[in-house]
C-alpha cells in the first residue's frame, strides 16, 4: 500500500468541481488527489488554488460524495505508459489499459510534457501520397504535416480518417497512435476490431476518451495520446502517424469544465483561455531530427458554422485543411469536399511542380464559374449558355464526379471496392477532362471510379 498523505477536506461539490480546504499542506497544480467513500475511490486533479482553498476536477462521477470527507494526495500527475509495451494496447484517458489484457507497465511518464524548442524542431519532410484523388490533388501532404479534416455533423470526417488509416498507415512501416476524443464508442470498437483483424494492431496504440465519458476524460485523452506519440518519436526515433478524432471535442470539454468553475467565458461559451489551451496541445505535435509526427486531425464544425471560434483557433495551427461540405454530401458526392476552402502549404510550384500547380488553379477556376452558372441555369436553363460556358459547365460536372472515389472503408455504403489512385493518373485524367478529350462521354461514367480506364 502506498503511503498516502492527508491534504484537506471537501467543502463543496458539483458535477465537475470539488472544492477542498487544505490542512496546511502544499499541493502542486495538476496533482492527483484521492478520497474514499462507500467502498469507492474518487480521484481529482488540482485545477486552481485560492489561498488555502483548491478547486479540483473529478476524474469520474461525484455521485455519493459528501462534505467533510478527507482527501489524500498521490503525489503524482496523470501518467501514461512510456515503454515498448504501449504498442498494440488500448488505454483510457487516464492511462489504464481497457483491452482486457493484463496491465503490464515498465515505465510511466506524466502526460504533461514541455513543447519543443526552436532548434529541436525539424520542418523538412518528403511528400506523402494518400491515394485519395481529391486530397492528393487539392491538399497534398508531406511528412510532419498537420492536416485538419473539417466538417459539420455527418458529412464524412470519420470515414475519411479511417480511409487515411487504411491508405497511409497500412502501406507504411510507421507506427501509429489513434486518439479517440469525444467520438462514438461504436466506431472506436469497430476500428479496434478492424485493426486486429488486419493484423495491424501491433504497430498501433490507441487512447479512447469517448463521448460517453465525462468532460475531464475527454479533455485528458489528447495529452495521454500525445505522450504515446512522443515516446515513439523521441525514444524509438520513428516516424509516427497520429490520428486525432476529434480535436474539437477537446476544446468542448475545456468549455464544460470552465463553465462549471464559473469562469467568465467568451462567445458561445468557450473558455477565455482557448488559444493557450489549443497551443499547449498543438505545439507538442512537431517533428525533430530523430523522428516525425504526421498528424491527421478531425475537426467538428458546430452548427455548420466555420467561423466558430474553436474551429478557427485550431485551424490556425494546421499546415493544410480539408473542408467537408454538407451541400456536396447532399448531392451524394463523397468525399464531400469543398474545393474552395481546402488548401495545403504544399500548393506551391517549388513543392509540387508547375504542372500540378497549374491544373489546380485551372480546376478551381472551372468550378468557381460552374457555381455561377448553376444560378444562371436555375433561371434560364442549360440551352441559353454560350459555347465556352457550356463546355465549362459540362466539364465541371465531370470533374466533380471524377473527384468522388470509392473508398475501402465505405464498401458497405457504396457496394463498390475501394481504389488507391496514383497522383500521376489523377493529373493526366484531370488534364484530359479539361482539354475536352472526354466531351462525348456521359458524366455518369465518371462517378465513383478510380482513374479513368483507357484503352
Amino acid at each position: 500500500m502506498e503511503q498516502k498523505n492527508f491534504v484537506g477536506k471537501i467543502i463543496s461539490i458539483s458535477d465537475l468541481n470539488v472544492t477542498i480546504l487544505l490542512g496546511g499542506v502544499k499541493v502542486r497544480n495538476r496533482e492527483i488527489l484521492e478520497t474514499e467513500h462507500r467502498d469507492q475511490t474518487y480521484r481529482f486533479e488540482v485545477f486552481e488554488a485560492k489561498g488555502s482553498i483548491i478547486f479540483a476536477i473529478p476524474l469520474d462521477s461525484v455521485i455519493g460524495l459528501k462534505r467533510g470527507l478527507d482527501v489524500y494526495t498521490t503525489g503524482k500527475e496523470l501518467e501514461m505508459e512510456y515503454s515498448d509495451r504501449l504498442l498494440g494496447r488500448v488505454y483510457d484517458s487516464y492511462g489504464a489499459p481497457i483491452d482486457g489484457l493484463p496491465e503490464e507497465t515498465e515505465q510511466k511518464k506524466g502526460v504533461y510534457a514541455r513543447s519543443l524548442t526552436m532548434p529541436e524542431i525539424n520542418i523538412d519532410g518528403e511528400v506523402l501520397w494518400t491515394g485519395i484523388k481529391v486530397l492528393d490533388f487539392f491538399a497534398p501532404m508531406q511528412k510532419g504535416y498537420k492536416m485538419g479534416l473539417l466538417g459539420g455533423a455527418g458529412v464524412g470526417k470519420t470515414v475519411l480518417i479511417k480511409e487515411l488509416i487504411n491508405n497511409v498507415y497500412m502501406k507504411s512501416q510507421s507506427n501509429s497512435v489513434f486518439v479517440g476524443v469525444g467520438e462514438r464508442s461504436r466506431e472506436g470498437k469497430d476500428l479496434y476490431d478492424e485493426m486486429l483483424e488486419a493484423g495491424l494492431l501491433d504497430k498501433m496504440s490507441i487512447v479512447f476518451g469517448q463521448m460517453g465519458e465525462n468532460s475531464v476524460a475527454r479533455n485528458k485523452a489528447v495529452f495521454s495520446g500525445l505522450t504515446l506519440a512522443e515516446y515513439l518519436r523521441d525514444e524509438k526515433k520513428q516516424d509516427v502517424l497520429l490520428f486525432i478524432d476529434n480535436i474539437y471535442r477537446y476544446v468542448q470539454a475545456v468549455s464544460e469544465i470552465n463553465a462549471e468553475l464559473k469562469r467568465m467565458p467568451i462567445e458561445n461559451g468557450y473558455p477565455a483561455t482557448i488559444e493557450s489551451d489549443v497551443s499547449m496541445v498543438e505545439e507538442r505535435i512537431n517533428s525533430t531530427d530523430d523522428g516525425s509526427i504526421t498528424s491527421f486531425q478531425a475537426i467538428y464544425i458546430p452548427a455548420d458554422d466555420i467561423t466558430d471560434e474553436a474551429v478557427q483557433v485550431i485551424s490556425s495551427h494546421l499546415d493544410g485543411q480539408i473542408v467537408l461540405d454538407r451541400k456536396v454530401a447532399e448531392k451524394g458526392l463523397y468525399p464531400a469536399i469543398d474545393v474552395f476552402r481546402t488548401q495545403s502549404n504544399m500548393i506551391d510550384i517549388e513543392k509540387i511542380g508547375e504542372r500540378h500547380y497549374r491544373l489546380v488553379q485551372e480546376v478551381i477556376r472551372h468550378l468557381a464559374r460552374y457555381e455561377e452558372l448553376e444560378e444562371i441555369i436555375a433561371v434560364l436553363g442549360v440551352d441559353e449558355l454560350s459555347e465556352t460556358d457550356y463546355n465549362i459547365f459540362q466539364r465541371s460536372r465531370k470533374l466533380r464526379n471524377y473527384f468522388t472515389q470509392p473508398m475501402f472503408v465505405a464498401e458497405n455504403f457504396t457496394g463498390i471496392k475501394g481504389e488507391f489512385v496514383k497522383i500521376e493518373d489523377v493529373l493526366r485524367d484531370v488534364e484530359d477532362i479539361l482539354g475536352g478529350v472526354f466531351d462525348e462521354v456521359d458524366e455518369g461514367h465518371f462517378s465513383y471510379i478510380g482513374s479513368i480506364p483507357r484503352e
Binding site: I13, L65, I98, S185, R186, Q210, M211, G269, A303
Partner: protein
C-alpha cells in the same frame, strides 16, 4: 452545528440506533420554482434523495460550503421557506416494476393511466456508467421498421442510434410508432419515452399502440408537459437504464426518445436557473455531453442483447444545421430527415433522401437487400441532383440517357410511398423494386 450533530449521533447510537438510521434535517432557505436552497444539511451526499415537509421529494444537485441545492422532482404540497427537509441517506433512484410492460409509467413506478403504484418495485439508478468500448460488438443485425425508404435505403441495425429529424407535423413520431408496431412477433422489447408531450397526445398514442396489439411488448415511459422540469430531464436516462437491464439479459430493446429538442430546452431552463454559464444559443456548454452520454447507451452488447435508440428532434423551417440538431447528428449513427415539402407533395413518409444518412449502411442488411439498396440509393440520389439542375429544361430536348434517368427516378420515388402502419417485409420491399432492374437485361 457539526458538534451538535455529533452529539446527536452519539445519543442515538447509545439508544440503540445505528448511525445509518439517523436522519438529518435542514430547512429551505430560498425557493426558486423547483430549485430549493437548503441550509442545515451538512452531511448529505451528492445526488441524495431528500423529503420536503413529508409530502414532496427532491435530490441534492449541488453542495456548497454553507448550503445545498435541491431539485424538486415530486411536489405533493406547497413548499415554503423554512419547510423541513429530511435527508434519507440514499442516492436518488428510479422505481421500476417488471409488470410495466403494456403500461404507461413514470420514473416513480406508477401507472400513469390510473395513478396507482405498482406492487413489487425495484430501485434502478438514474444512470449507469456507459457500456465500456470493449464490451461492444459490431452492429450487424437489421431492425426492420417496415418502411421501404428506411429498410432499403438508410437501414437501421440492432444497436444503432438513428435520429429522426424534421419540422412539426412531418411524421417524425409516426416513423417511430411504425417501427414499434412492426416489432410484433419479432421478440424486441420497445420503450417509448415521452419527454414533455401533452397528456392528450400520449393518450392517443397509447390507444393507437393498444389497438394494433403493440402494447404487449411495449413500455411507455412518460414525462408530461406539466411534470417538474427535473423529471423531464431525468426520464430519458431512466428509460435507457430500464433498457440496459433487459439488454444485459440478452434481449433486444428499441428505445424511442420523443423528443430531444424539448429535453435540450428543458435542460437549458434548469441550467440557467441554477446559474450555469450559458454558451451557444444560451444552452449550457455541457449540452453535448448531456445527449452524448444518453445516446451512447445504445449499443450491441457482447452478451447478445442490444439497445437501438431512435431519438427525435424537431427543427424549425427545415433547418437541420442549428446547434442542437448538429450536436445530435454528430452523436447518432445516422439520421432520417423529414421534409415539409415532400410531406405537402404527399410523398409519404416524407423522407429527404439527400440529407438522410446511415453510417452503418449495408452492414446491417441481408445480402439481397443490401445489393438492391445500394443500386436504388445511387440512382435515386443522382436523379434528385439532376432533377434540380434540369428542372427548367424541356424533357423532350434532353439526351436519351438523361430522359431515362428521370423516368426511372420518378418510378423509384413512387415505389417508396407508403401509408402509415402498413409495414413491408424485406421480401416485399425487394418485390416492389425488382421489376426496375429486370428491364435492364436486354
Amino acid at each position: 452545528m457539526e458538534q451538535h450533530i455529533k452529539e446527536m449521533i452519539q445519543k442515538k447510537t447509545e439508544m440503540g440506533f445505528s448511525p445509518d438510521q439517523m436522519q438529518e434535517v435542514g430547512y429551505v432557505s430560498s425557493v426558486q420554482g423547483y430549485i430549493l436552497e437548503v441550509s442545515g444539511l451538512t452531511n448529505v451526499m451528492f445526488y441524495e434523495k431528500v423529503i420536503i415537509d413529508g409530502h414532496s421529494e427532491g435530490y441534492v444537485n449541488n453542495i456548497y460550503r454553507n448550503h445545498v441545492m435541491v431539485a424538486v422532482v415530486r411536489e405533493g404540497g406547497r413548499i415554503y421557506t423554512d419547510s423541513e427537509v429530511v435527508a434519507t441517506g440514499e442516492i436518488f433512484e428510479a422505481s421500476y416494476s417488471e409488470e410495466s410492460v403494456g403500461h404507461m409509467i413514470d420514473i416513480f413506478g406508477r401507472d400513469r393511466m390510473n395513478g396507482l403504484q405498482f406492487d413489487c418495485l425495484e430501485q434502478l439508478p438514474i444512470e449507469n456508467r456507459t457500456t465500456p468500448i470493449m464490451d461492444r460488438t459490431a452492429v450487424n443485425r437489421p431492425l426492420e421498421t417496415g418502411i421501404a425508404g428506411i429498410d432499403l435505403i438508410y437501414p437501421i441495425g440492432k444497436g444503432q442510434r438513428q435520429l429522426i429529424i424534421g419540422d412539426k407535423k412531418t411524421g417524425k413520431s409516426q416513423i417511430a410508432l411504425d417501427a414499434i408496431v412492426n416489432q410484433r412477433g419479432k421478440d424486441v422489447l420497445c420503450i417509448y419515452v415521452s419527454i414533455g408531450k401533452t397528456k392528450k397526445s400520449m393518450k392517443e398514442i397509447y390507444a393507437d399502440l393498444s389497438r394494433r396489439g403493440a402494447l404487449d411488448y411495449t413500455i411507455m415511459l412518460a414525462a408530461f408537459n406539466d411534470d417538474q422540469p427535473p423529471v423531464l430531464y431525468l426520464t430519458p436516462y431512466v428509460g435507457l437504464t430500464i433498457a440496459e437491464k433487459y439488454m444485459m439479459q440478452g434481449k433486444d430493446v428499441l428505445v424511442v426518445l420523443d423528443d430531444l429538442s424539448r429535453h435540450a430546452d428543458n435542460y437549458r431552463e434548469i441550467s440557467l436557473l441554477v446559474g450555469k454559464t450559458p454558451g451557444r444559443d444560451a444552452y449550457p456548454p455541457d449540452i453535448f455531453y448531456t445527449h452524448s452520454r444518453m445516446l451512447e447507451k445504445g449499443c450491441q452488447h457482447k452478451c447478445g442483447g442490444s439497445i437501438t435508440v431512435l431519438p427525435i428532434v424537431e427543427t424549425r423551417g427545415g433547418d437541420i444545421t442549428d446547434y442542437i440538431s448538429t450536436n445530435i447528428i454528430s452523436i447518432t449513427d445516422g439520421q432520417i430527415v423529414l421534409s415539409k415539402k415532400s410531406f405537402d407533395q404527399n410523398q409519404k413518409p416524407a423522407i429527404n433522401y439527400g440529407l438522410s444518412v446511415s453510417r452503418l449502411g449495408g452492414a446491417v442488411q441481408p445480402e439481397p437487400v443490401k445489393k438492391m439498396g445500394a443500386r436504388v440509393r445511387r440512382e435515386l440520389l443522382s436523379y434528385l441532383e439532376t432533377r434540380e439542375v434540369y428542372q427548367l429544361t424541356n424533357m423532350d430536348e434532353m439526351g436519351k440517357e438523361l430522359q431515362e434517368k428521370i423516368r426511372r427516378g420518378e418510378e423509384i420515388m413512387s415505389a417508396l410511398c407508403q401509408y402509415k402502419y402498413s409495414p413491408l417485409s424485406h421480401d416485399e420491399i425487394i418485390g416492389r423494386f425488382r421489376h426496375l432492374y429486370q428491364e435492364e437485361q436486354p
